[in-house]
C-alpha cells in the first residue's frame, strides 16, 4: 500500500464526489474520482487504488458488475448504498465488497469505515496469524484462543466461526458466507445455527455478552469482528 493511500471515489453525482474527496483529502488520503463505470475501470487498470468507494447506481453499468474486476486488481471496496436494501448489501458483500455505507451518511462514519477497510487490506497483505481483540488473542496457526495467559476452550464450530471472522477481521461477512464456511453450502440459510454459536462465543469472549462489542451484527446482513482502534 502506498503512502498516503489512494482512494478512488465512484459516484455519478459530482457534488457528492467532490465532498467525499474533500473530506478524504482533509484526512490525509490521496483521491481520484470517476462518474461512470467505464471511467472507473480505466482508472483501475492504470494505477490501481488501495480503496474504491463505489456507488452501485451508475449511469452506464450496474456497479455490482464492477465488483469482481475491482477485487481482481487488489483494491478494497466500500459500497455506498441506499437504506433498506438488505438484498443489495448482501449481494455486494458476497461479490467481494468489504463493507458498505448507507446514504445519507455521516462523514465521520464514512471515514471510520475507510480506515477499517484500509487496515483490513493491510492485515490481509501482512498474512497475519495472530489477531488481537483487546486482551483476547486468536492464534490462527495454533488454533488457540486465549485471554492473557489463560486459554479459552471453544468447541470446533465455535472456533471455526471465530477463525473465519478473525481471518477477515473488521470486514462484514454475510450470514450465508459464515454458514457456508463453517457448516457447508447445504446450511447457508440456517441462521439459527449461527445465532446459537455466536451466543456461545459471546458468553466466552465478551466482557458483557448482553451488550456485545467484539462480534457485531448488521441486521439482515451479517457479522463482523470489530478490531480495536489502534
Amino acid at each position: 500500500m502506498r503512502s498516503p493511500p489512494l482512494i478512488l471515489v465512484v459516484d455519478d453525482e459530482p457534488a457528492i464526489r467532490r465532498l467525499i474527496c474533500r473530506a478524504l483529502e482533509l484526512n490525509g488520503y490521496a483521491t481520484c474520482e470517476a462518474g461512470e463505470a467505464a471511467e472507473a475501470l480505466g482508472r483501475i487498470n492504470g494505477d490501481p487504488p488501495d480503496l474504491v468507494l463505489l456507488d452501485l447506481g451508475l449511469p452506464d453499468r450496474d456497479g455490482m458488475e464492477l465488483l469482481p474486476r475491482l477485487r481482481e486488481r487488489g483494491a478494497a471496496v466500500l459500497v455506498l448504498t441506499a437504506r433498506d436494501e438488505s438484498a443489495e448489501k448482501v449481494a455486494a458483500l458476497d461479490s467481494g465488497a468489504d463493507d458498505y455505507v448507507t446514504k445519507p451518511f455521516d462523514t465521520d462514519e464514512l471515514l471510520a469505515r475507510v480506515r477499517t477497510c484500509l487496515r483490513h487490506r493491510q492485515a490481509a497483505f501482512g498474512g497475519t496469524d495472530r489477531v488481537a481483540l483487546g486482551d483476547v488473542v486468536i492464534d490462527l496457526d495454533l488454533r488457540r484462543v486465549s485471554r492473557g495467559a489463560e486459554e479459552i476452550h471453544l468447541t470446533p464450530k465455535e472456533y471455526d466461526l471465530l477463525a473465519e471472522l478473525a481471518r477477515h477481521a473488521g470486514r462484514l461477512l454475510t450470514h450465508a458466507h459464515l454458514l457456508r464456511a463453517v457448516w457447508g453450502p447445504a446450511h447457508q440459510d440456517d441462521i439459527e445455527y449461527l445465532r446459537v454459536i455466536v451466543r456461545a462465543l459471546r458468553r466466552k469472549l465478551e466482557p458483557n455478552p448482553a451488550a456485545p462489542t467484539l462480534i457485531r451484527n448488521e441486521p439482515g446482513v451479517g457479522y463482523r469482528l470489530e478490531l480495536p482502534v489502534p
Binding site: E13, A15, I16, L19, I20, R22, A23, L26, G57, A82, R83, D84, S86, K103, P104, F105, D106, T107, D108, K157, H175, D190, I191, E192, Y193, L194, R195, V196, I197, V198, R199, R202, R203, P209, A210, A211, P212, R216, N217, E218, P219, G220
Partner: protein
C-alpha cells in the same frame, strides 16, 4: 319471422300476395278460393277425359282423377283435397260410368274408385302438410338463428353497460313486439338501465317482481306464480358470475307477453344477453385490475424515486454541512444546517416507511434473530442521537430467538429509542428491557418523560397523535405509527403504558409464542 306475422294482425290480402297457396294449407282449413280452384281442376280434367274417352275407354279415366286430387291436397290441404276426391268420384260416376249422367253405381269396383280417390286425397294432404311444416320450421329456425346471430354481433361490439342494456331492450322489443325494460344492480338497489319503448317509473308491484326475479332463479311477474299482479314479467340474466341483471317484458292486455311458440328463441336471447353482461363484467374487472396495477407501479416508482433521487441531494447537503469549518461568526448557522439536514433525512425515512406500510409493500424476510443483536445494532445506529442519554440494557442473553424481519425490527427499535431520547430534561434515562412472559417475549423501551395522559395510551400509536398535556414534539409524529404498522405487518403487537415505577412511559413490542425459537432446538 313468418310465424310472427301470422300470429299478428296482418291483412290476409298481403299474405296471399306473398304465398298464394301456402298459408291456408298450413292450417288445413281452406278458403273459398281453394275450393274454386279445386272445382276448376275437376272440371278441366273431366273435359279432358271426355275428349280422350273415345280412344282409351272410360275404365282408365279414373286414374286421371288422381291428378286434381293430388294437386288440391298438396296445394290446399286436407279439406279441399277430400272435397276434390268426392267431387272427382261423383264426376267420374256422372260423366263416365254407365248409365251416363246419373249418380248410380252398378259395379262395386266403381265405389272402390271413389273411395280410393278420397283416401289418396287424405294421405297426400297429410304428407304434403308434413313436408310443408318441416320446411316452414326449418325456415323459421333459420330466421331465428339469423336474428340471434344479429343480436349477438350487435351486443359484442358495444363498449359499455348502458349501451348494451339499450341494445338488448331495443332488440327484444323489435323482435317480439313487446315493451322491454332492463334493470341492473347499482349499489344496493336495482335500477332501470334501459327500456324500449321508453317506459316510465316502475310501479311498486313491478319493482317487487323484478327484485324477486333478481334474487331467485326463475321468472317473476305476470303469468307466473310469483307476484302475478305485476304488468311485467321479469327474467333474471343469470350466468356463472351470478345474476347480473333482470330483463322485463310487457305486452298490454295479455299475461303471456311472449307466445309459447317463441319461448325457445326468447330463452336463447336471454342467454345471449346474459353472456354479453358477463363479458362486460369480466372486462370491467380486467380494467380495474389494470388500473390497480398501474397505481401500484406508480407508487413503487414514486417510493424508489423518493428513496434514491431525493436522498442524493440530501446526502450532498449533509456532507457539505459537515465539511464546513465553523468559525465564531457562523457556528450557530452551521449547526442549524447540520441538525436540520439530519431531521429532514429522518423525515424522509419516516415518510417512506409509512407509504410502504400503506401500500402494503412490506416484503417480509423472516429470519431467526437474537434480540441482543437487534438491540446492539439499534443502539449503534442511534449513537449520535443517544449521545448524552444514559441507556440501560436489560435484555438477558438467554432469551429465545425470535423469527421476524430484521430490517423492520431494526426500524421499530430505532423509532422507539428515538422517541424515548426526546424525554427527560438534562440526561434522559432510557431502559431497554427484554422479558420472557406467558404471552411471549416482550421487548420494552422505557423513558423518564411525563408519561401518557390517562386514557390516551391507546391512541399514542395513531398517526400524528398529539397528546393533550404532553410535550411530545420535535419528531414527525409518525414514528410510533410506523412502529405499529411494522409490528402488525410482522404479526407482533405493540403496547403503550405508563411506567409502574414512577413517571415515564413504556412502549413494548410483544413477540408471540409462535414466533419464538428456543436456542436448544438449533445447531
Amino acid at each position: 319471422m313468418a310465424a310472427a306475422r301470422m300470429n299478428s294482425a296482418e291483412p290476409v290480402s298481403r299474405l296471399l300476395k306473398r304465398h298464394p297457396f301456402k298459408s291456408a294449407a298450413a292450417t288445413g282449413g281452406g278458403r273459398w278460393t281453394d275450393y274454386l280452384w279445386s272445382a276448376l281442376f275437376v272440371i278441366v280434367l273431366t273435359a279432358f277425359g271426355r275428349a280422350v274417352e273415345p280412344w282409351i275407354g272410360y275404365r282408365s279415366i279414373d286414374l286421371f282423377y288422381l291428378i286434381p286430387v293430388i294437386l288440391a291436397a298438396t296445394l290446399f290441404g286436407l279439406r279441399p283435397g277430400i272435397a276434390t276426391g268426392i267431387a272427382s268420384g261423383l264426376a267420374y260416376n256422372f260423366f263416365f260410368l254407365p248409365p251416363h249422367y246419373k249418380f248410380i253405381v252398378h259395379d262395386p269396383q266403381d265405389l272402390i274408385t271413389a273411395t280410393v280417390l278420397v283416401l289418396v286425397a287424405v294421405v297426400t294432404s297429410q304428407l304434403a302438410g308434413r313436408v310443408r311444416a318441416q320446411a316452414q320450421a326449418g325456415e323459421q329456425s333459420a330466421q331465428e338463428s339469423a336474428a340471434i346471430a344479429g343480436f349477438v354481433s350487435k351486443l359484442s361490439s358495444l363498449p359499455d353497460a348502458p349501451e348494451t342494456a339499450g341494445a338488448i331492450c331495443a332488440e327484444v322489443s323489435r323482435m317480439f313486439d313487446v315493451e322491454a325494460i332492463l334493470l341492473s344492480p347499482d349499489g344496493d338497489c336495482l335500477c332501470v338501465a334501459a327500456s324500449a319503448p321508453r317506459a316510465g317509473e316502475l310501479a311498486p308491484d313491478d319493482r317487487a317482481a323484478a327484485d324477486r326475479a333478481f334474487h331467485g332463479a326463475d321468472p317473476a311477474g305476470c303469468g307466473t306464480a310469483a307476484l302475478p299482479t305485476s304488468e311485467w314479467r321479469f327474467w333474471p340474466l343469470k350466468g356463472s358470475l351470478g345474476t347480473l341483471a333482470v330483463l322485463g317484458v310487457r305486452r298490454p292486455a295479455t299475461s303471456e307477453p311472449i307466445p309459447p311458440a317463441r319461448m325457445r328463441m326468447f330463452g336463447e336471447i336471454v342467454d345471449r344477453a346474459t353472456r354479453a353482461y358477463e363479458r362486460l363484467k369480466v372486462e370491467e374487472e380486467a380494467r380495474h385490475l389494470a388500473a390497480l396495477r398501474e397505481r401500484d407501479r406508480l407508487r413503487t416508482s414514486l417510493l424508489s424515486s423518493i428513496g434514491h433521487d431525493l436522498r442524493t441531494p440530501l446526502t450532498a447537503v449533509k456532507a457539505a454541512a459537515e465539511a464546513l469549518v465553523p468559525d465564531s461568526e457562523n457556528e450557530e448557522l452551521v449547526s442549524t444546517i447540520r441538525s436540520e439536514a439530519a431531521r429532514l433525512s429522518r423525515f424522509f425515512d419516516d415518510l417512506i416507511d409509512l407509504s410502504r406500510i400503506e401500500a402494503g409493500a412490506l416484503a417480509l424476510k423472516l429470519e431467526a434473530i437474537d434480540l441482543t443483536d437487534a438491540v446492539a445494532a439499534a443502539l449503534e445506529d442511534l449513537r449520535l442521537t443517544l449521545k448524552g442519554c444514559t441507556v440501560e440494557v436489560d435484555v438477558p442473553a438467554n432469551l429465545p430467538l425470535v423469527r421476524t424481519d430484521p430490517n423492520l425490527l431494526h426500524h421499530i427499535l430505532i423509532n422507539l429509542l428515538d422517541n424515548a431520547a426526546k424525554f427527560g430534561a438534562g440526561t434522559p434515562e432510557i431502559v431497554l428491557r427484554g422479558e420472557y412472559t406467558d404471552s411471549g417475549v416482550r421487548l420494552s423501551v422505557l423513558d423518564r418523560g411525563p408519561g401518557l395522559p390517562a386514557g390516551q395510551e391507546g391512541i399514542v400509536f395513531d398517526r400524528f397523535a398529539r397528546l393533550e398535556g404532553s410535550d411530545r414534539t420535535g419528531g414527525t409524529g409518525l414514528g410510533l405509527a410506523i412502529v405499529k404498522g411494522f409490528a402488525e405487518a410482522m404479526g407482533l403487537s405493540v403496547e403503550a403504558a405508563n411506567r409502574p415505577d414512577g413517571p415515564g412511559a413504556s412502549f413494548s413490542v410483544v413477540f408471540p409464542p409462535s414466533s419464538l425459537i428456543s436456542p436448544e432446538a438449533a445447531g
